[in-house]
């Protein structure tokens, strides 16, 4: 396994994995900006194998695995080599695609001790009319002083396996670019919403209300302020846990619809636990 020093080196290495037909697959969809952040933090490495490349990112106590593989058999062999190298790590992989296209890839992970942790579905809101947010007065943009508070909030309320918690540097950038909305209750955050806009599209990354402040309309005010702010986006997309019927019902209420893409999160526990 070797550490990656710059984004172009990674791109070049990825492009060398042969496409041999319909078995080719990848779950590496990070933007160049995100890759640069990870490289700067020294958390990105690769494991090159025959007809497969594993991109390995250390994320706190977890190791996140991305792959580019010519076929499931090559992926399976590469994963076996990785498991030998990191037997005592918790390995996490997000497999993204149409549900029917994920079976072969998921099988390669399963053969190496991974099991499905949860499944997310992508929803999108296209050209829906803006919602009236004129009565929303307590939603504000987060400031630089909120970064550590936001990070604490995310660590407290989010499942790190299902929802990749942003690094402080990524959070600081989101705050700086005015993409974080919060509702405060005294010195505490009652709720927060983080989005990312690129051109005509926006991704809703996180929308969460502190468990002590639920059923008081905090989430609704955050969402209406967000939709008002992003009224010029032609498409707003998000990922939600497939069996979170309450959240999906809320997203339907705000005009989001399922798009047909799945994200299967597979986890391999430490060797001692996996056996």
């Amino acid at each position: 396994m070797r550490r990656i020093a710059d984004c172009s080196e990674l791109t070049r290495t990825i492009s060398q994995v042969a496409r041999l037909g319909s078995g080719y697959s990848t779950n590496f969809f990070a933007s160049a900006a995100k890759i640069d952040t990870w490289i700067a933090a020294g958390t990105l490495s690769v494991l090159q194998a025959e007809n497969a490349l594993l991109i390995v990112r250390h994320d706190g106590t977890l190791v996140r695995i991305h792959h580019v593989a010519s076929d499931p058999q090559s992926l399976r062999a590469a994963l076996a080599a990785l498991v030998d190298l990191l037997p005592d790590s918790i390995l996490v992989a997000d497999l993204v695609g149409r549900p029917e296209s994920l079976d072969g890839v998921a099988g390669a992970y399963r053969k190496n001790g991974f099991a499905i942790h949860t499944r997310l579905v992508r929803m999108q809101r296209i050209a829906s009319p803006p919602l009236d947010a004129s009565d929303v007065i307590d939603v504000e943009s987060a400031g630089a002083n909120d970064v550590s508070r936001l990070r604490d909030f995310m660590e407290r309320w989010l499942d790190p396996l299902s929802e990749q918690i942003q690094e402080p540097a990524e959070l600081a950038e989101a705050v700086r670019t005015n993409q974080v909305l919060v509702v405060r209750q005294g010195n505490e955050l009652a709720g927060m919403l983080i989005h990312e806009t690129i051109g005509f599209s926006t991704t809703l990354r996180y929308w969460h209300v502190d468990g002590c402040h639920r059923n008081r309309g905090v989430g609704g005010r955050l969402m209406r302020a967000f939709l008002d702010r992003c009224a010029s986006s032609r498409r707003i997309a998000l990922w939600v846990i497939a069996n979170n019927v309450d959240a999906i019902r809320k997203y339907h209420h705000y005009g989001f619809r399922e798009e047909g893409l799945s994200d299967v999160i597979m986890v391999r526990q430490k060797e001692a636990t996996a056996r």
């Binding site: 319909s22 990848t26 993204v96 051109g199 986006s233 498409r235």
Partner: protein
């Protein structure tokens, strides 16, 4: 056989792909869409785009995609 614009519209019908010079910077295609696009181009034009060609700049606009396809003998 579908045109490139038909294929792009099939992936993201909400956007007009004839007007943008940079689909990725304009948020009209994301990385997941690019993988779908590669597979749709493969199927539609009976080619197999090499891994070395799956670079953002080859899918950034209509002309870039046309140039890529021409490398595989496709005049689209």
């Amino acid at each position: 056989m579908k045109s490139i614009l038909d294929i792009l519209s099939g992936i993201r019908p909400e956007f007009d792909f004839s007007t943008s010079e940079d689909y990725l910077a304009d948020g009209m295609l994301d990385s997941v869409d690019v993988i779908t696009l590669v597979s749709d181009l493969d199927r539609n034009f009976a080619i197999c785009i090499e891994g070395t060609d799956i670079l953002p700049e080859n899918f950034s606009n209509l002309q870039a995609i046309r140039s890529l396809l021409s490398k595989y003998g496709v005049a689209a």
